[in-house]
């Protein structure tokens, strides 16, 4: 017995509009018209969703010192737990191994991505180099 698919599916609440969009139904229609069904995938063109990252201006690095002997090195903590203790160990290392190096400990003000103009001015006035610690 031939089953009327449209009637059967409508009895279970499937809209005829869904049937019209059914690939299988589309194939049946094509076969009725005498044409073979095509299953080749179509290619489409879609848009890149990305925004605009900033261009990067290369920043030349500062000239290096000939030596640290006799120089002032700022040891700057970015505020992460333990950074102050680690920098203190660096100060102890210099005292033991390079006693002519003067170390100055500072905690950078604000959060880890805030600028600290006061500290920058102090380094400019009295420092020669900086060691900063640390990301966790």
């Amino acid at each position: 017995m031939k089953i009327n698919r449209r009637k059967l599916l409508s009895l279970i609440g499937v809209s005829p509009a869904v049937l019209a969009g059914s690939p299988a139904l589309a194939d049946d229609k094509k076969k009725k018209n005498g044409k073979a069904a095509s299953h080749g995938p179509e290619k489409i063109e879609v848009l890149n969703p990305k925004g605009m990252p900033p261009a990067v201006q290369l920043v030349p690095m500062a000239p290096r010192l000939d030596t640290l002997e006799g120089k002032t090195v700022f040891l700057v903590s970015d505020g992460f737990a333990g950074a102050d203790r680690f920098l203190n160990q660096i100060a102890i290392w210099f005292q033991k191994n390079m006693p002519s190096v003067k170390t100055v400990y500072r905690l950078k003000a604000g959060s880890y991505f805030d600028d600290d103009p006061k500290l920058m001015a102090e380094i400019k006035a009295s420092g020669n180099a900086m060691i900063m610690a640390y990301g966790h």
């Binding site: 848009l47 969703p49 990252p53 010192l65 003000a109 920058m120 900086m130």
Partner: protein, 451 residues
């Protein structure tokens, strides 16, 4: 890098867990060859002696002795590459992609352009249809977005960019003004922190009914299209328009948060607020008939199903006393209208009155208080009041009210701090339940501006 720009050599130290982030951060700031030296991870739990041994050991990346490497970072002459200047323009790929639907779904997914669920592919036709949802021109620059402002690069984006991402999320043109408003805040849904931030986004005003947001039964669940796609769109656009969500580079959340899929996209149940209780956006200075989106930031939410032998406002006060999370000085309470109604019957004529009551009457567990107040602990041990009396309270509750906006640590203290507890009313009144979490209010934006 500021110090290098001043003309002084630096040696930044970073633990190895952040090796890729440190290098990409240096590159994005213009110093790709910054002389970063690496340490083992983690460092925070090492004793002083162990830390000294790290100095006597090797850099875990280069395997070279660490202290000589730090000294060389400051003294070894610059190479020709380190002296280079100029501009580098990042490559974001071609303006379009061509392929079958399956190929394109795979391409977007494999390139972290989605939330790893299938998307609506953004054809020109679909984006043009989406743009009909706003009167703003497609090329209008909306603003900047970054995974962590100040620490990560800020990307620029337009109305058209947002429309493309809105299509991907499955949004309709009527949702676009909301998504544009969210993007206009400059807040990413995927913040870079290791702590795995979550976000919440809430709609107020006529927009909620206009686009059929669900704020009844299942208000925080997957039960209405706008609730689903708007929250989703924020995550997808954060990735593509702000460079957010690249694990190890712009996203470091060690556990991650499942909230990031939808960002707790909700609408307040304004038509069931008790008399005198203002909608959230009105509390923040908007008019009742304005459509507004508000952003909250936090980490966690307790969904509390509990029938107390006390009024709910007392139960929640006790919950606030013992609630502990990363953020211990702010909270947001989401109350079913039945709970709000009971609070009104108990005499709280506004959200502000209830919020003030909670801030004033909640306390702090002794263990938490002393953990956060080490200086006060020493003072208490020396007999300084009130800390000495607090110590005598033992392991109980210290009468310290946490939930006030007192100002940033190290900054000026607010003499008249306001309550940091926000209240939102939503839900379908099928039971007297509520949720509380460490979310704090960030900002609001007009949706009407983007219609």
């Amino acid at each position: 890098m500021q110090v290098e720009k001043m003309g002084f050599p630096t040696a930044p130290l970073v633990t190895i867990a952040f090796k890729d982030l440190a290098k990409s951060n240096a590159a994005s700031r213009g110093m790709p060859l910054e002389r970063v030296c690496f340490l083992p991870h983690p460092m925070t739990n090492k004793s002083d002696e162990e830390m000294y041994k790290v100095l006597e050991g090797n850099d875990p990346v280069t395997n070279k002795p660490l202290m000589p490497e730090i000294i060389a970072a400051l003294t070894q002459p610059l190479t020709a590459d380190e002296k280079k200047t100029g501009t580098i323009s990042p490559d974001i790929g071609p303006p379009t992609y061509v392929g079958t639907q399956d190929e394109l779904q795979r391409l977007y997914c494999d390139n972290n352009l989605t939330d790893f669920m299938p998307i609506i592919l953004p054809t020109e036709e679909k984006v043009e249809a989406m743009l009909k949802g706003t009167s703003h021109k497609p090329d209008e620059v909306i603003g900047k977005l970054s995974a962590a402002q100040g620490a990560q690069p800020s990307w620029t984006f337009t109305v058209r960019h947002v429309a493309i991402n809105a299509v991907m999320a499955g949004a309709s043109p009527e949702h676009l003004p909301v998504i544009l408003a969210i993007s206009s805040t400059g807040q990413p849904s995927l913040f870079s922190s290791t702590s795995s931030f979550s976000r919440m986004v809430m709609l107020n005003g006529p927009i909620s009914d206009q686009i059929k947001m669900n704020y009844g039964i299942g208000a925080m669940g997957p039960f209405a299209e706008p609730n689903a796609v708007i929250g989703r769109a924020w995550t997808i656009l954060s990735k593509n328009l702000g460079g957010c969500g690249v694990p190890g580079l712009s996203y470091l959340g060690t556990l991650g948060s499942n909230f990031n899929y939808n960002n707790l996209c909700i609408a307040e149940t304004e038509n069931r607020l008790p008399d005198g209780w203002k909608p959230f956006h009105v509390q923040k200075g908007f008019k009742a008939d304005e459509s507004v989106v508000s952003i909250f930031s936090g980490w966690s939410l307790n969904n509390v199903a509990w029938f107390p032998n006390m009024p709910y406002h007392e139960l929640i006060k006790n919950w606030l006393t013992h609630f502990f999370s990363f953020g211990t000085t702010a909270a947001t309470l989401l109350l079913d209208p039945t709970i709000a109604r009971e609070a009104k019957e108990k005499g709280f004529n506004s959200k502000e009155e209830l919020s003030d009551y909670w801030s004033k009457n909640s306390k702090t567990p002794a263990w938490l208080y002393w953990d956060q107040h080490q200086r006060e602990l020493k003072q208490g041990q020396q007999g300084v009041e009130p800390y000495a009396s607090y110590l005598k309270m033992g392991d109980g509750e210290i009468p310290f009210q946490r939930f006030y906006r007192r100002g940033r640590p190290g900054g000026p203290v607010d003499a008249n701090p306001k309550s940091s507890i926000e209240i939102i009313v939503l839900g379908g009144e099928t039971n007297t339940y509520w949720a509380g979490g460490d979310f704090s209010y960030v900002t609001s934006a007009s949706i009407d501006k983007w219609r």
